[in-house]
Each structure stands twice: as structure tokens, then as C-alpha cells.
Symmetry: C2
Subunit: 430 residues, 2 copies
């Protein structure tokens, strides 16, 4: 019993093109292994060149969204345009027509999943977005239908390939941020305007989607603490390495009795941690559940084919399941009330200070940490700064677990002393 399913693809960029190729080349394979006959009925893209390049037949080239939605052969609409302009309008229009939507659009899902899921539910169609997070890694399906026996307590993810590529190069070569970014741009690992990646926005969207699923409640991206990698110095990466830490841009979500904590920032993790070995443009998500304990999913977080793998897996899932089971927030009503977000989170900290080479300076600084209840794990003197007239002592401090507020207070107080300045602050996770 073979099921026939027609697909339309909106947007033939990297992911859309990969999806088109994958569906066309695997047609017979899916027929055989999944008993489903999936054909691309229509493709919508402004670029004729791109259509030619991919060999899209003339009869499959749509000229408007209306043409796509009016076609009764189109059961599933794949949206791979990105952003929240046309993409949002098209997805809403498709759902209104009762077409199932598969999208790779993290910003759209992060910002509008609630209303889109409501629309899908009303119309009895599906809304799938595995490809919106961590490329080919089926992390969303795993959270929904693989780890559902668990209360997820903690999630730590390397969910952005561009920044992981830059940090890996900085860790290996000691080059600085600006140089490494330029190299990444030359090689196509970073965009011309890299803000979305390097400032952590992209990771924030993904953390919002994933932690919402993991914690069974909406985690709005506005509630996520965010710090990018633009301020990092190769110096700190090297010092951390010597002390057994690797620097990664982590998306961290935690749920406890205190509430939900969600944050994206450069983080030192022990170099023996499985996430420390996730290099270059690879991504990974490390989860801790109350039943499964620790688990990690690792793979390509981006790229035409890996992301197409997620899009097409959603298409096959939608085509072979009559159940619509992708509504994330079964407990939406309860969830939207009374969820507490922890702003003053706990962490350990790495700090780099330049300190006047004067008797009593260290005692003064230690005193300030003590005053704010911060105890220190390690204090290492790293020689003198390059400042010729008045060389200063370079000090690396690693603290025990404390709070963001306490550290910020201590840093402000230290800077006030005029004995020392805090030149770098990096959070540390164990």
C-alpha cells in the first residue's frame, strides 16, 4: 500500500536546494523503504538561474504562492526561505489552506510557533521543524519521541557552526578573533554580516525552541541571557587550555525547583567533557535527564545535505503518520502561567585581571571576593603585562560556584579600587 504525497518547496537556497536534490534522487529509495511515493510538484523561487542549476522541470516552476496553494497535488509545503517576512506570510497561508508545513526556519518557529501551531491544530494539518535546530541531528524528534520518559534537568548545546568553527581555530592556532573571523568568511563558514551568529542570536533562537520542548513550557527568546564571542581574546583561550578547559559558545538550559534558566555565552568546560571534542562546524547537544542520565547527540549543524536530511525526514514522517503529533506544548495553558525564569543564575567564573605590582593589592582583591561570598578555586599569576612604564601583574582567577549578581558586584568593586581591572570574565560549567 503505497501512499502518494506531493511536495512544494518555497525557496531554493542552500537548504531548499539540498531538499530538492535529496527528494528527487531518493524517490525510488523512499518508495522501497518507506512505502511512500513523494514527488516534488512545485518549486517557488525568484531565481531562474537557481532553477536551471538544479534542473527543475518547467512544469514544476511556480510563479506565485497562490499557484502553489491552489494546487491540490501539493500536500506538504516545505518552507526554506528563512526570516520572518515572506516566509511567515507563506507559512500562514499554507496552514490556512490546510497544507502541512515543514520548515527549517528557526527565527519563525522561535518567535511564532504558538500561533502557527494553533493554526495547524485548527486546520488539522501538521507543522514540523526538525531542521530549525542543529541541522541533520534529529534533536527535536528525540526530545518529543525518544526521551519523553525523562524530566530533562539540563541541556548544553553547541548549536552554531560558525562560532564553533571560529573558536576551534582560535583554540588551535592562538589567532585572534578578527583574523579568524576573516578566514571563516573567506572559507564560507561565516556570513558577510556575521552578527546573527557571532553575537549569539542564532543560538538564542535554537535554545528557545529546544528548551521549550525539553521543559514542556514556552521559553521566550527574550528571557534568554545572551553574550556573543566578539569580545573574546586568544589569550584567555590559551590560559584556559593550560588549566584544563576548552572554550565553547554554549546554549545552556536548566530546570529546577527554582525555575528555568536559559543562557547563551562563551563557556569554559573541562577539556575531558564530550562537548569539548566537538570541533569545527560540528554541533552537539548534551542532555541530562532524570532517567536516562547523560546523553549527547552530535553531527553536522548546517550544510545543504545535512539540513535537507532533517527536512526530508519530517516530510517522510508527515507522509507516513496519520497522527499529528508535533504540537510542542500539550500543557500550554498551565505552562504559560507561573513559569519562573532565573535571571541571577549560578556559575563558576574565570577572570583575568591586571593588578598593580604593589604590596597588599592581592589581599585587597581577595577581600572583595570574600565580601561577596565568592570563594576561589585557583589563583595563578601569569607574569607581567606589556605595559612598559608601569607593568602590571597578570592574574587568572577561577571561582567556585557563585551567582552572576555576586560576580558583577565584585568586578565593579575591583575596578573601583584603581588597584586592578578585570579584563576578561568567562563563565565556567562542569
Amino acid at each position: 500500500m503505497v501512499k502518494k504525497v506531493g511536495v512544494a518547496i518555497l525557496g531554493l537556497g542552500v537548504v531548499g536546494g539540498g531538499t530538492y536534490k535529496t527528494l528527487v534522487e531518493h524517490h525510488d529509495f523512499y518508495l522501497k523503504t518507506q512505502k511512500v511515493d513523494i514527488t516534488v510538484q512545485l518549486v517557488l523561487d525568484l531565481s531562474k538561474e537557481r532553477m536551471d542549476e538544479l534542473g527543475v522541470p518547467q512544469e514544476c516552476r511556480a510563479t506565485s504562492i497562490e499557484e502553489v496553494l491552489a494546487n491540490p497535488q501539493v500536500d506538504i509545503v516545505v518552507e526554506t526561505i528563512g526570516g520572518i517576512g515572506a516566509a511567515k506570510n507563506f507559512v500562514q497561508a499554507a496552514l490556512r489552506e490546510g497544507k502541512t508545513v515543514v520548515t527549517s526556519n528557526k527565527e519563525l518557529i522561535c518567535k511564532y510557533s504558538h500561533e502557527l501551531e494553533d493554526m495547524a491544530k485548527r486546520k488539522g494539518c501538521g507543522l514540523y521543524y526538525e531542521a530549525s535546530c542543529v541541522g541533520g541531528v534529529p534533536i527535536i524528534r528525540t526530545l518529543l519521541d525518544g526521551l519523553q520518559a525523562n524530566r530533562i534537568e539540563k541541556m548544553m548545546g553547541i548549536v552554531n557552526g560558525t562560532t564553533n568553527y571560529i573558536l576551534t581555530k582560535m583554540s588551535n592556532g592562538g589567532a585572534n578573533y578578527e583574523e579568524t573571523l576573516k578566514e571563516a568568511q573567506r572559507l564560507g563558514f561565516a556570513e558577510f554580516d556575521p552578527t546573527n551568529d557571532v553575537e549569539g542570536f542564532d543560538s538564542t533562537y535554537k535554545l528557545s525552541i529546544l528548551s521549550s520542548m525539553a521543559f514542556h513550557t514556552k521559553v521566550p527568546y527574550m528571557n534568554i541571557f545572551r553574550e556573543g564571542i566578539t569580545g573574546l581574546s586568544g589569550e584567555d583561550i590559551a590560559y584556559g587550555k593550560e588549566m584544563g578547559y576548552t572554550l565553547k559558545l554554549l546554549a545552556i538550559g536548566k530546570q529546577s525547583e527554582k525555575g528555568i534558566e536559559a543562557r547563551v555565552h562563551p563557556t569554559f568546560i573541562p577539556s575531558s567533557h564530550p562537548l569539548a571534542g566537538v570541533n569545527d562546524s560540528f554541533n552537539a547537544v548534551y542532555l541530562t535527564g532524570d532517567t536516562v542520565e547523560d546523553i549527547m547527540l552530535y553531527g553536522r549543524g548546517a550544510g545543504a545535505l545535512p539540513t535537507a536530511s532533517a527536512v526530508v525526514s519530517d516530510v517522510i514522517h508527515a507522509a507516513t503518520h496519520s497522527d499529528i503529533k508535533y504540537s510542542t506544548f500539550k500543557n500550554k495553558e498551565t505552562a504559560e502561567r507561573g513559569v519562573k525564569f532565573v535571571a541571577d543564575f549560578s556559575s563558576a567564573y574565570y577572570l583575568r585581571l591586571s593588578v598593580e605590582d604593589r604590596a597588599g593589592a592581592l589581599a585587597k582583591i581577595s577581600g572583595i571576593f570574600a565580601k561577596y561570598g565568592i570563594s576561589l578555586v585557583e589563583v595563578v599569576q601569569k607574569g607581567k603585562t606589556n605595559d612598559k612604564e608601569e607593568p602590571k601583574v597578570l592574574l587568572i582567577i577561577i571561582t567556585h560556584q557563585t551567582t552572576e549578581r555576586a560576580v558583577n558586584h565584585a568586578v565593579a568593586k575591583i575596578n573601583e579600587t584603581e588597584l586592578a581591572t578585570v579584563d576578561a570574565l568567562i563563565r565556567v560549567e562542569k
Copy 2:
């Protein structure tokens, strides 16, 4: 709309006990997050003590399988007995009654999945076995419903915790196999009779199940090449380490135009490979698909709660899906004919030889390798053997990719020369 589901658990061992605890403790959590009211109706176990220990209420204690199957409140039967004696009879009886079965039994599924799936299909009930492979890691669901867009080309798994624990200790401490096994037994990481684990049978069962799913055709365990870890020496692990390799017991499956290749044996992999960092009793599966490229799933391969996570996820899946979608071999008819299994597989090899300290010996040996078309990547002399009367030269050789047959011929020929003996042979994967 809450669905009510009754569960019976057969066998309260490690996994059965973990499953009981997980279901009882998470009852309200599943009600809230999954909208399903799962209650343990009956438990069947010979040990009254174990029932007491877990606090199973009197009215939930069954005394026979007939009692369990006759109970109309029991929708799902969880089998956590293991082996193919009572477990097989009970699972068959449950399916005959039209009860959905969730099992953690790898031997049963490996050997009888075909007939059990046929029974389930005839009766319109489900057969689920996520917990049979790699404990809490949802590898089966991922293969069925996460990577289905892919032709899986290669699978490499560390799927047995006992052997990975032993090999990790041997790699770190340099202790020999016998000592390490004893320590593992003392700590509960190895059974009193460890044959099933250390000889690779357990890995073979799991590889049979996983590669059957990955390659969409039955891969019978009899077709899997198997070599255990009992013959390994700490010496080779140390030499390999120096040369940049880590030793793991890998379950390897490959599919290409030549056919399917499935094998379980100790394997050197580059120490930079993500699998090389999978230590102690952790497990992982590394997959290569034609679309997703490389992906790895990592987690606890055994233990009461991690395995219960898989059992309970199956229970929830069965309870919340009306689709019965667990039949592995949609293309069974085609699959059972014409599948070719590659016996003479290709690999690179690590060889340790003791060679007479005589002119021309190395030339002779090199000549034998050349005769069988085997080219060498590295030849390293490691000093002399301890043999006082007639010390021999210790030689480590790493070959390029060649075939099992060629290497076996070459080894036999070298041993015939009386100039040298091959004392260790370990396959190498890149």
C-alpha cells in the same frame, strides 16, 4: 483528552525494577506532559523479596502469565526477563492475546523479530524494543524516524558497556586483561560469567538489530564476523596509543554495492575520532548517511534507569500513537532474497611480530606482504623481546587498506618462515 493505559511488567530485574520505579514515580508527570494516564496494573516475578523491595502493592502482584494476559486492564506487556526461554513464550502469548509488547530483550529480538513482528501485525498490536540496543540512547527510533531520509552507508558502535569499561581501564592503566576483568567483576561492571560480553556475542545481537534497521534488510547474527577481547594484550593498546590510535570493541556495519558487511572485533581508531573519547561504560553509535553525513549518539548503554528510559519511552509512544509503525522490514519480501554479505571484508591492520635478529629477516617479511598485495603504512621497531637466550626484534606494522583474506594468507606465510611469528593482529578503521 487523557488516554488511560494499563501496563504489566514481566521480570523485576535491573531493567524491570527501573521501569517499575520510573512509571510509578513519573505518573503525574506523564499525565501532565504526555496527556496519558499510565498505571502499572500487574507485575510478574518469582521473587517476593524483590516485590517487597520495590513496594509493589499486593493487588498488583500476578502469580502467572495467564493471570496477566486475562486481565483486560493490561494493554501493554513489558518483558524484561531476558533470554529466549520463558521470555519468548510470554511475548508470544501476549501478542497472541493482542497485547502490545515492549521488550528490552536483544537476544529475543535478534533471533525472532521476524516471527514476532508477523504475529504483532496479524493481531494489530505493537512490538517495541528500543531498550534492546544501547540502553537509554534512542538509536532505534532515530533510525526509524529521524534518519529515514538517508541511505546509511556505515555504522560503527560501541554497544557493550562491560568491554568498553575493560578497554578504557586497560588503555589508562596498562593493566592486563585478566586483572582488569577481575576488577570489573568486583565493581559489578562485568558478570560472573562474562562470556556473552567479552566474546562479543552481546554486541553481535545488537549489531544484527541495528544494521537490519539501518540497511532495511535482515542481517542475521550468524552472518556477523565476531572476535572478542579476551586475547588482547595491554602491550598492543600502549603501542597503538603511541601511534595515535585508541582500541575499542566496535560493532561495524557497512553497506555498499558489494553488499552488506557486519563485524564485531577489537578495532584501533584514530584517537581524534569522536568514538575514541567514549569511555568507561558509556556507549555510542557513529553513523554515516548519504545525506546527513556523520552523526553520533552517545549515552549510557546499560543500567536500571537509563534502560528504563528507553522502555518507558516505548510505552509512552505505544500509548500515544494509534499508528503501529514499528515493523522494521517494510521491504521484507525483497530484502530476504538477494542480499549479499561480504565475508572477505577490507580493513587496515595493526600487526605485532617477533622477528629473528638476523640479516634479511625484514626483507623476507616485507616480501611476503608485497606478494599478497599488502602495502605498509608504518613499520616500527620496538626493541627486543624478553627472551634471554635468543632475543627477537619486536616489530609493529600498520598496513594500508587490504582484505581479511590477504592478511590471513600473509600471516600464515610469515609464521611458516620460522623467521618470525605474528603475535597480534588488530583491525584498524579510519
